[in-house]
């Protein structure tokens, strides 16, 4: 492409957009793993589609925050994690949770507020998990997870575990004080923290240009003297590769890494929002860059799978979802009075074994 032509094509695109990635072989990922990734991408989208149908039937309460168009970030990044790593998903990272072993039934139970839901009907959306499962559950106030994951990374080091703490943050949430305070502490302590900015161009109705003057939000890393990277968020393999590099750097003790994945939120902020404020041209541009469609094409073009083989994976997703949804639909509502339980740990006799503070084995010094 000539310089003038490049300039011209850039002019036609919404700012911040990148052209489609060159099809290139997937570095170090076996065909099986590539298909595994496809399965998670598809499952992510299909679970959300089903949730959205449930929402329209009035079976989902409160907000429903989808990740259509952003699945490659969740799946590609979470797929790069090691088992001991700790992840804090945000509300649009259902795919990352699937990759780390959460089953669709948990989302259905949670969103429909059923007995047996991970939060017992007390909280909703993806606000669940637990450190025993390798997750830190998010809360609604944005930015809060960055300092918390800083603490996870710190403890990982103190306990002698080779773990990396990883979390996501929206373009909007990079404006919060907590984000900056967490990055500040993590950087001077050189903690193994990876923060992925999921730049989907819109924070509710606010475009990224009204959030920051930077073209690349990853540039915020400069304020902390830490490594940064920018990746095409609609290219699942590129996200995977970039996350692997970031995790490696963090694991080597180089400190936190800020990675920006550029993408677009292809639906409203929540189910009630039809995103009328997004310019038609921008929406159309990104529609052509659907991360799942792009990946399907790549898998077929590079003969990793035939269309029939991909269809079989989709079939598998459908039957899992059907089965899990049936379980969730049949579940009763939680006991109403259960909402005032579990506020504090059960009282133990201060002299008893149970009352003794629990110190993780590796933190004890003899």
């Amino acid at each position: 492409m000539s310089k003038a032509a490049r300039k011209e094509s850039r002019r036609k695109q919404p700012p911040g957009a990148r052209t489609a990635p060159e099809a290139r072989p997937a570095k170090g990922l076996s065909p099986d793993k590539q298909l595994d990734i496809y399965y998670y991408l598809k499952l992510n989208r299909m679970v959300e589609e089903r949730l959205s149908a449930l929402y329209r039937q009035g079976k989902v309460q409160g907000g429903l925050y989808g990740s259509k168009g952003q699945e490659a970030i969740s799946v590609g990044s979470a797929y790069a994690l090691a088992p001991q790593d700790v992840l804090a998903p945000m509300i649009r990272n259902l795919g990352a949770m699937l990759v780390r072993g959460v089953k669709p039934v948990e989302f259905f139970l949670q969103y429909m507020q059923k007995e047996g839901s991970p939060c017992k009907g007390r909280d909703t959306s993806l606000h669940f998990g637990g450190i025993d499962r390798g997750f830190v559950p998010p809360i609604s106030p944005l930015g809060t997870l960055v300092p918390v994951l800083t603490g996870v990374a710190l403890a990982g080091r103190m306990l002698g575990r080779k773990l990396v703490a990883m979390t996501y943050i929206g373009d909007g949430a990079t404006s919060t004080g907590d984000f900056h305070e967490g990055m500040g502490i993590a950087s001077v302590m050189r903690l193994p923290l990876v923060v992925i900015i999921e730049n989907n161009r819109w924070a509710y109705s606010t475009p990224v240009a009204a959030q920051s003057l930077l073209t690349d939000l990853a540039e915020k890393a400069r304020a902390y003297g830490i490594p940064q990277g920018v990746v095409d968020g609609n290219d699942v393999l590129a996200v995977h590769e970039a996350t692997e590099s970031a995790l490696d750097l963090a694991r080597q003790g180089k400190g936190p890494v800020l990675l920006e994945a550029k993408t677009m939120r292809m639906r409203g902020h929540s189910e009630h929002d039809d995103a009328w404020y997004v310019p038609e041209e921008e929406r159309r541009f990104w529609e052509k860059r659907d991360p799942i469609a792009l990946y399907e094409k790549r898998l077929v073009d590079q003969e990793v799978a035939t269309p029939e083989e991909l269809a079989a994976i989709v079939e598998r997703c459908t039957s899992e979802i059907d089965r899990d949804l049936a379980v969730a639909e049949a579940a009763p509502s939680p006991r109403p009075e259960s909402c005032i339980e579990d506020i504090y740990a059960p009282l133990a006799d201060p002299g008893s074994e149970e009352a003794a503070p629990k110190t993780p084995a590796s933190a004890r010094r003899s």
């Binding site: 409160g62 507020q113 007390r122 509710y204 509502s333 909402c339 506020i343």
Partner: protein, 327 residues
């Protein structure tokens, strides 16, 4: 003839009129411009007042309130929106340490309004349903208001904008579009004074002291009690800081039996403060203990079944009122 309007429309009108009346008034918050606010309180404001006065900010509550404080010190009248009042927690330092103490420390008032949707009953869960009043009621220098009627919603936002001190204006989101409380409002300019409670219903046997959306349950309970031969007075506090101690004293002395009802959780709720006030001012007039109906000490749950159990309702008010009336 004028049409009845919603509580939300009343807030909108109040803000609109204050912006028209006084060039110093401006607003800042997330998605308040082009989008017109998450609940549409500022719909049409950007077109009318322009982006110099309707400022869409990045997601930065501490920054928003801090900037409002600074602008107010320069003589302007900022109104800051919290998209949900729950996120006011992020601005706690600016509010309690800077805004609240400025006048006392060095004589400069901070005339800002911080407003946003509070309260439960809309299946918002633990981070979109909170009643944060008591964090601020405990802070001298702040004013905290919680209008419960459409008339008050407009009159109090106007009073808050004109007030010389920092005002936390809590809008109950359950009331936003509730048909039951639609009202025809006066055409002319009016304000509702901060610091004054209202008698919503006269009665002689028992007082129900409340505020916000809970007054609907109190009014319903009062109707039902009336049929049982118990005459209940309903007092709407409207302002939680400063409390209208005289109104509380007057109703306690009048009926001798007080039940306090609020949606906020129990421990450290305003009911404890009102009870003490009654003990101090009207103890000899009491014919029974001061009782309270509140939410239990737990976060607000999401599920409908749980939230319905959690929140006070007419039945819970009736049960407590009957018990008190029997003394």
């Amino acid at each position: 003839m004028a049409e009845p309007i919603t509580y939300l429309e009343a807030i909108r009108q109040g803000l609109w009129e204050e912006m028209e009346r006084d060039r110093r008034v401006f607003m800042l918050g997330e998605d308040i411009g082009v989008y017109g606010g998450a609940f549409k309180v500022t719909k049409g404001f950007l077109e009318k007042f322009g982006k110099e006065r309707i400022i869409d900010t990045p997601i930065a509550e501490s920054g928003i309130v801090g900037a409002a404080i600074g602008a107010s010190l320069m003589g302007l009248r900022p109104v800051a929106e919290m998209q949900f009042i729950d996120f006011i927690a992020c601005a706690f330092n600016q509010i309690t340490n800077f805004a609240a103490k400025s006048r006392w420390r060095y004589g400069a008032g901070v005339p800002i309004v911080i407003r946003g949707p509070a309260g439960g009953g809309v299946r918002g869960g633990p981070f979109h349903s909170q009643n944060p009043e008591m964090y601020f009621v405990h802070t001298p220098g702040l004013k905290v208001v919680a209008p419960g009627t459409t008339y008050d919603a407009k009159g109090m936002i106007k009073a808050a904008v004109r007030d010389e001190d920092p005002v936390i204006y809590l809008e109950h989101k359950y009331l936003y579009r509730l048909p039951r409380i639609k009202e025809v409002l006066p055409e002319e300019d009016y304000t509702v004074p901060i610091g004054k409670a209202a008698v919503r219903r006269e009665g002689t046997d028992i007082s129900l002291i409340t505020y916000g959306s809970m007054q609907l349950h109190c009014l319903d309970a009062a109707e039902a009690l009336d049929k049982e031969g118990v005459s209940a007075e309903v007092i709407d506090l409207r302002t939680l800081l400063p409390l209208d101690a005289d109104a509380i004293e007057a109703t306690a002395k009048k009926t001798g039996k007080v039940l306090i009802v609020h949606e906020d959780t129990r421990t450290g709720g305003i009911a404890g403060e009102v009870t003490s006030l009654i003990n101090e001012r009207a103890f000899e007039y009491l014919d029974g203990p001061v009782l309270r109906v509140t939410s239990p000490d737990a976060p607000v749950p999401y599920s409908a079944a749980l939230e319905d159990f959690f929140l006070p309702n007419t039945q819970k008010v009736m049960d407590a009122a009957r018990k008190l009336a029997a003394y």
